[in-house]
């Protein structure tokens, strides 16, 4: 059974106090959550690396979790930050997996929808989202992406550059 937002927040507070058992439970839940959250927006072979990087970022920045606020939006901001950084770095990737974007929790579905990566992607102009999707996630070359999208190669490059810049600026946007 997946813990709810309140349980995750409680585990995080206990982890901040040094409770290793709670921290292990928290990290395992976060790992599951991130695999689901990032799975659809990253090439499968990069997913484990990105999840590990995000777990490590969580570990480094545990003190920045504010116990008076929800836990998942904090985790999502860190995951988005690492994801956007990863997209900037990766030029070649294989086909993405078909995982779900968010864990489905009835009572939290509204919040999860607001923080999903799909909602972030949807805020990009279509040509920019398509260029990033084809090159950074599906791993096509610039020339192949240009053929697939009907954009010129120069435009694909410009759209990737502008799209990634916009994504970085929207990391905390709900």
């Amino acid at each position: 059974m997946t813990p709810d937002e309140t349980s995750l927040a409680q585990l995080a507070i206990m982890a901040q106090r040094g409770d290793k058992e709670a921290y292990a439970a928290l990290l395992h839940e976060c790992q599951r959550w991130m695999k689901s959250y990032l799975g659809r927006r990253i090439a499968r072979h990069d997913l484990d690396d990105l999840v590990q990087e995000t777990l490590f970022a969580l570990h480094q920045k545990l003190a920045t979790y504010d116990s008076t606020r929800a836990f998942v939006p904090w985790l999502a901001a860190i995951a988005r930050y690492r994801w956007a950084g990863h997209l900037r770095q990766v030029y070649r990737a294989r086909k993405h997996s078909g995982g779900t974007d968010v864990i489905s929790h009835n009572d939290e579905s509204a919040m999860m929808a607001r923080i999903s990566l799909n909602s972030l992607f949807a805020q990009l102009p279509a040509p920019q989202a398509q260029a990033i999707e084809l090159v950074k996630i599906e791993g096509l070359s610039i020339a192949e992406a240009a053929c697939a999208s009907g954009q010129s190669e120069a435009l694909v490059k410009i759209n990737i550059h502008r799209g990634l810049k916009k994504l970085s600026a929207m990391i905390e946007r709900a």
Binding site: A15, Q16, R17, G18, K20, Y23, A24, L27, H28, Q31, D48, D49, V51, Q52, E53, L55, F56, A57, H59, Q60, K61, L62, A63, T64, Y65, D66, S67, R69, A70, P73, W74, A76, A77, I78, R80, Y81, R114, I115, S168, A169, I171, E172, R173, A174
Partner: protein, 222 residues
């Protein structure tokens, strides 16, 4: 344990989790009040430094504050505090956070250079004599310099935190530093000239923002 050793030493997420759990130490949650205290401390140090090292402009000890001083220093103080408060908040990431408040304060403070332009054109020329230039450049540099205390405090704070928009955090840090530095220096600068204030004092904020935007991101990226 650093990021590279953590990644390269582990082959699975479960192994990494075990290492992280073993590595866990109790942490003090980042309190915004501490960040704000740092900013106020830097502001106090700047204002005290200006007062002790350069001296206050004559109308302050006399208790007859010029309206220009109240307006200008009030705008810079509000902009500086608003931007600094946002920077302090940016140390704790959260999807759904909004930092748009400083934009309004920036728009209000932008009235200073606009007024300078209107007044300058009304006089027939902006009127930059060599003496004006020297005095202006002195104010420009002093505002940036006295703001560097605030900038240092904000960089230290952001390095403890987890800013997920490092470029914007850097820009806002520069705006905060320039504004609070200029607020401190305006306690000394004797000029009441709108053109001087609008051009050089506002210029210090813009210059500080530009410097921070270029220099700070690598220092706070994580």
């Amino acid at each position: 344990m650093d990021r590279k050793s953590a990644r390269f030493a582990s082959t699975t997420a479960d192994e990494l989790i075990n290492r992280l759990v073993n590595d866990l130490e109790p942490v003090k949650p980042l309190r915004l009040a501490v960040g704000l205290c740092l900013v106020f401390g830097a502001l106090l140090a700047s204002a005290t430094g200006v007062g002790l090292m350069l001296g206050l402009r004559p109308d302050i000890p006399a208790g007859r504050l010029a309206p220009h001083l109240v307006l200008e220093s009030g705008l810079f103080l509000l902009l500086g505090l608003s931007a600094a408060a946002n920077v302090v908040r940016m140390s704790r990431p959260h999807v759904g956070s909004d930092y748009g408040g400083s934009n309004w304060a920036m728009a209000m403070t932008a009235l200073l250079p606009v007024s300078a332009l209107v007044m300058g054109l009304g006089r027939g020329a902006i009127g930059l004599s060599p003496m004006d230039m020297r005095s202006g450049i002195n104010c420009l540099g002093s505002g940036v310099l006295w703001g560097s205390l605030t900038l240092t405090a904000l960089i230290m704070w952001l390095r403890r935190g987890a800013p997920v928009r490092p470029h914007y955090a850097a820009l806002l840090s520069g705006v905060a530093a320039g504004s609070l530095g200029m607020f401190a220096y305006s306690l000394h600068c004797p000029s009441n000239d709108v053109v001087h204030i609008g051009l050089w004092h506002s210029g210090a904020v813009a210059l500080s923002a530009l410097i921070a935007r270029l220099v700070v991101p690598p220092l706070i990226r994580w």
